[in-house]
């Protein structure tokens, strides 16, 4: 297995260069430009006083996400979803995932009746956009919570832990961390792991398109993910300050 060389030349357990840049939007209550190598996702958090209608009067808040890709974030231009008149299945699936991931570490009752909306827009895509969105989205969410604290809209800190995500996969039979597009498009299996700062699992989505994988392989991927999310949580801490 030592003979397999990743297209990027990275070791099997090495993430791409990660950067979580804040201060990138003058309006939003929270904002983070998450870069995993050439994958760039701009995440903003908006605090809204209006919760979904089915939550009204519950005294609890909500955290939700929307996801989009700029048309030329991809190698071949992708049609604009606004022009096509509907969001595709992949978009809806990803934004549901981001929302679940962030809610897993949020005590909604501590927010009061407030909704925090995360917009995750991909400026450039090179694999792993959803995991970058979750990781950067957490930073924007934390900033928005700080804002709520600063204006005394909340009294308790609503986040119970960090949450970060990484995609690992089987590339030519080898378990590798943080797939880029060159790896992702030829991988036998691809698994997204969402984990907390404490190392608990929030979500596992392991998929083998046209292939299968074993329990042992799943465990290998999980071990890689644990190491990588640990590093991402460190980067989040530095970004939030």
């Amino acid at each position: 297995m030592t003979a397999v060389r990743r297209p990027s030349g990275r070791p099997a357990d090495a993430m791409r260069v990660v950067s979580l840049e804040t201060g990138v939007n003058k309006y939003a209550e929270g904002a983070c430009l998450a870069r995993f190598g050439d994958t760039h996702v701009l995440c903003t958090a908006t605090v809204e006083s209006r919760v979904p209608s089915w939550m009204k009067g519950s005294g609890r808040g909500w955290v939700t996400a929307e996801y989009g890709m700029l048309p030329r974030s991809t190698d071949e231009r992708t049609d604009r979803e606004a022009a096509r008149g509907r969001q595709g299945g992949r978009t809806l699936e990803i934004q549901r995932l981001i929302g679940r991931a962030l809610r897993a570490v949020t005590r909604l009752e501590a927010l009061g009746e407030v909704q925090i909306k995360l917009d995750c827009d991909v400026l450039q895509a090179d694999g792993g956009t959803r995991t970058a969105a979750i990781t950067g989205g957490y930073v924007a969410l934390a900033q928005a919570c700080r804002h709520l604290q600063a204006i005394k809209a909340i009294t308790e800190w609503p986040l119970t832990d960090h949450v970060a995500a990484v995609s690992c996969g089987l590339y030519r039979g080898m378990a590798v961390t943080d797939l880029d597009y060159a790896e992702d498009s030829t991988a036998d299996a691809d698994a997204n792991f969402v984990m907390t700062g404490a190392g608990a699992l929030v979500e596992v989505q392991a998929t083998a398109e046209g292939a299968t994988f074993s329990e042992t392989e799943l465990m290998q991927l999980l071990a890689l993910a644990r190491k990588a999310t640990g590093e991402l949580v460190e980067a989040q801490r530095r970004a939030i300050g």
Copy 2:
């Protein structure tokens, strides 16, 4: 843990009564009414000579799926997606999952340039509709392949194995098999496993809404799923005959 009693009274590792009834549609090339207890999903397979445009000339076929729920398949009536004018994110996510699961055991090059479309329509829902759809969809798919064989449109058997799916979860801290709605709506974590007849993994989707789970718990759920999908594959064999 022995103190936890499931709402249905089932043992932790017991599926609901499963029935895979064939001969339920006079037109389709394959058809199966899959029942997991009170969850009833009508699966039909349609053979079309037209493949998606990006496959034309490739000499390979395609397998895809659509999913829908009748409005009163649920306890509270759900608005008809045709009337709302769009399929929701959950629908799109499920039909993508069904398609991937079935393609994982299909050698597309053995189909020739033919598309097989699985329609999975939920007549009654009581949890686990997507796993019933995959399990029954496989039966309809196998019948459609038989049909292609009978009319000599294919020369090799295109399916490499069975594929079946089950949802397991943590109910009051206990790992249990085949969640029904009463369990699903209060479960701490919910995991869908798609597995082949040989026990290989095709897809794992483990989710904790507002909670987390450990690696050990994931392994427990996987063990339950392995046993359950083994039983489902047996039921598929009997149905296909």
Copy 3:
């Protein structure tokens, strides 16, 4: 005229085997699987406390219907309306007809401000789906009214009579009852009759695509419809019990 033989071999005035099966849905306030031969329509009735906005405060209720076809209910697969993003003209026309037919025998003021929604979903189509939907929809509606009576939401019985429907037509010049698809697709004229238990007319829709018909022929079709709806009303009585 004695020389004309129907594809099914039925006498001119004979309906297909009719079955109105109840107890087919565990959630709905009323449910009936109506079978006219190979035409199978699942009808459910849902009681909603919310009436259309233009009726609010009127003290009266409303009865409405939605209609859909499963994609492979037809010989050739029909695209899913939810996927196409809109209900076609035929669908809208049929569901308006079903609603009008059922309201014709309902005293809306006796319902209170309650809406009863009939969902009529075609599982298998072999001609006459709209007439099966009306006939089975009435059974589901009656069950929903019983439910309202049982929970003491209404004090008077709101239905003034039965309502049932049948399609008759001119097949090779001969007036025949209950057209199946083989007849319908080649008929010179096709007429849907909606009638009450007392034999009064609720709706007549007689159409000649690419042909015409005479007043005498219309009367012949009406006579056949009177006999057939009489039988359907009997079947309804047995189903409701």
Copy 4:
């Protein structure tokens, strides 16, 4: 019954003032502004060389119709369907009816592979817009056929007869001709009759919203319609010249 007075003061068997004005559009191959009293419908016929895809290569033509209402054609402004993003059920139902009516008198094989599209736009509505549309649409269609003849695109006259339509109904128990809005909105039953110049029936749509009607009453309405469509056919002859 002699005591019933119509809101307009018209005798039971009298139509409103009818006018079928031609020469009202400088571009269309046929055009007629049909006025039934205060109901004004602008009908244009467009000849297109492109037939629907399912007719290609058949050597036959097609006649179809579209229907619309200007927002302030009605007493209360109606929302623009283009702004709402979809045509309502009533619109689709009416334009299907107009198309069927006109095709009933057209030998499609005599048209060659040509489509004639009738646009029927209601400038002002006072009841009976669909019957005015059919009656005026026939005039526009006949002009378009003349145009095809003039340019020698066809060799045989493709229309087999006139077709005209009128709405009759039961107003306070009395059968009356050509309902205007004041009558239509309170009528017990409303029937649209489409008839040929020879008096044959093309379509009967008789509806009782919240009521029923008898066979005898249907016959009375039919007799009135026969007289009225006879007059309309005369008006068509004068318009076409």
Copy 5:
């Protein structure tokens, strides 16, 4: 420049025959059929008691416009926007322009919380539909204001001046007034001017598709527009009476 002859033979500074006909709709609070030569636009004004939600409680009113074209208002039939399911960019752009133009001469605070909706529907198009819509729309708006005055819904006259519009352009290098379609489709530059009765500018939209124009040319077009809108304002005065 004297050698250039306009297709219509008109002098450079001559408008087409203009007619602003009132009394063309029995329901609307204001109505005007504006004809600029063969361009015919039916404008109706509707008074609604409901203002847009963002204006509620402001004590001010609103004036807005919708624009549409009948399918055969054009030489080649244009698809119906209601059938396509969305209004095109050109339509939206034009109706925004009409609304802004009319609001420029309306004191919204004098209307009270009332919305006036102008519907401008093109019956026949031969260039300049938007300028005819603004010019005729003003007449309908003024009538609607008279109506509000008559029913004592307003106490002050809300219109501060007339507003009218004309399209001028560079045709074969010559500045000409009121482009018809033959000129518009080959013009080097096309400018729409919206002006008040006092000669003030409300809107200038000068466009050169595939070309450019100079400041001097812009001034020439403006001078032509000033003369033409003066004539249009006179026609408005006569129409309003």
Copy 6:
């Protein structure tokens, strides 16, 4: 007039700090991040071999544009157009303008049958997004033309001149250059000027919402625009290199 102070403190004829940054997208054939102060628009150019169907076989190319705003590019979050299912009128109007502006300096016949699509996505909005989009879009377009030249797809340089745009307006009666949001939202009139490097006019869109302006004021705005677009063209030259 000297007493009027702009919110930003800028002199009347001073633009905000302008930056046209290239190298901001690794996939696109051309890319420029245009910054006019706090207004940031990411412009990418995509070369496609497919032209619109109405151009096929013409031997000419096409240049078109799409425009979008990230939801939190604005002070209050704006709903995502992809989620709403349609692009608004403002979006369509702006993207039509950008396309016209760029085509005005492109010889389409020199492109061959190639389409260049400009995507202009607003990352942060503070007034003047459409003018920044045109100015930055030109840079991306020029890079895409260089790319076509480099791969020898074209032999002649297809751009005839630069094109740039600026918004000027009347702020408290004073003509000022490059309105930011604080000025734009309270300006009496707002005019967008699109000009070439040679100073010719491509498009003038001058609008007075709820007010009017004089010919003299229009000339003042035009003089300011001439100076500003001259500076922008210089910045383009430096960016293109």
